[in-house]
Symmetry: D2
Subunit: 108 residues, 4 copies
């Protein structure tokens, strides 16, 4: 379940500004990319970043993710848990333990 107060705060914010007209799944997907690149920019030249900057940019990515989930009638927690199940199959513990390799490059 998504926290009710977060979702209604977001919906009210969007509705007050009559912005829903701009929020298509495609434009929300573009927005998620754009914000995630601003998050990456915190680490452009270094692996250390100011926590405040990272927090602000991560908040923007999450915001658009929640808006997209809401637009598609999806529950963020549910889809994360569902995806986790299939990822467990792709990366069985005995093969994937301690390795960062992609699933098609795991040892037999």
């Amino acid at each position: 379940m998504v926290d009710e107060s977060v979702l209604s705060a977001l919906r009210e914010f969007v509705s007050e500004r009559d912005w829903d007209q701009f929020h298509t799944p495609a434009s929300l997907a573009r927005s998620i990319v754009i914000e995630s690149a601003e998050l990456l920019e915190c680490f452009q030249w270094s692996d250390q970043a100011a926590q405040d900057d990272v927090r602000d940019e991560l908040a923007d990515v999450l915001t658009y993710c929640l808006l997209l989930a809401n637009k598609l009638g999806l529950d963020p927690d549910e889809i994360v848990l569902a995806k986790l199940e299939s990822t467990k199959q792709k990366y069985p513990v005995d093969k994937a333990h301690g390795r960062s390799s992609k699933y098609d490059r795991l040892p037999d």
Copy 2:
């Protein structure tokens, strides 16, 4: 608050595979970008996309966002609500209503 069962399921998944060693804020930020681009790929040639594909890719973006928030000791809901407050200042209703322009291009 983040749903407790989602967070502990993710933590257990990562821990079982001894993957936390790979999860630095920088690598998690890269992962969020990579997954968001896979989400965008659903809309590469068209504004219509298969809902299943979008759901799966959105789940991946959210997963890495939750892992990054957890790594930094942040509560996703809290940071979204906090960011919303400052975004309200940048985009006052009277100026931003019905406009998709960036805050530095709003009318006076």
Copy 3:
């Protein structure tokens, strides 16, 4: 000037497959992002990457950049040189020397 043989090879490839109908500036911009994230994926968990993988993904990013420049009637070399001139203004040598800071965070 862009090397004539590269541009005509790309044009022929696209034309043979009747793909120009899909190549709008917007879809080419999305494609550039998607391919650049695949390039980033070479470095997802490490700063070291297989040179072959990097070369292949960089080739894809460049390909879409050349297609977008061509679609807009722009010469890639010209626009890079033109942008370099304004970047020199933003980052004067005396202020920017040895610093990775963004232009709005340079010392006075």
Copy 4:
């Protein structure tokens, strides 16, 4: 071949500012993503974009691509042409004509 004057202009610009120390393949890959997302931002809410903005952002993406190619001792035109050859195999004209589907979803 890459236009000699573009490459030496870029090298001189970087060298004057002592910026080569920041340019690793990993950081250049991140930079390419960051700039491509700024290009995408021109199309965030609409498929129409100001040509000047698109030109500026495309120039930034190309700049970092040239810097990365240079860093790895690669010729941009060569790698694009080489990649084109393998892409022709993946997307044979008879199967791919007029279709935007990915190679693993082409008809038999």
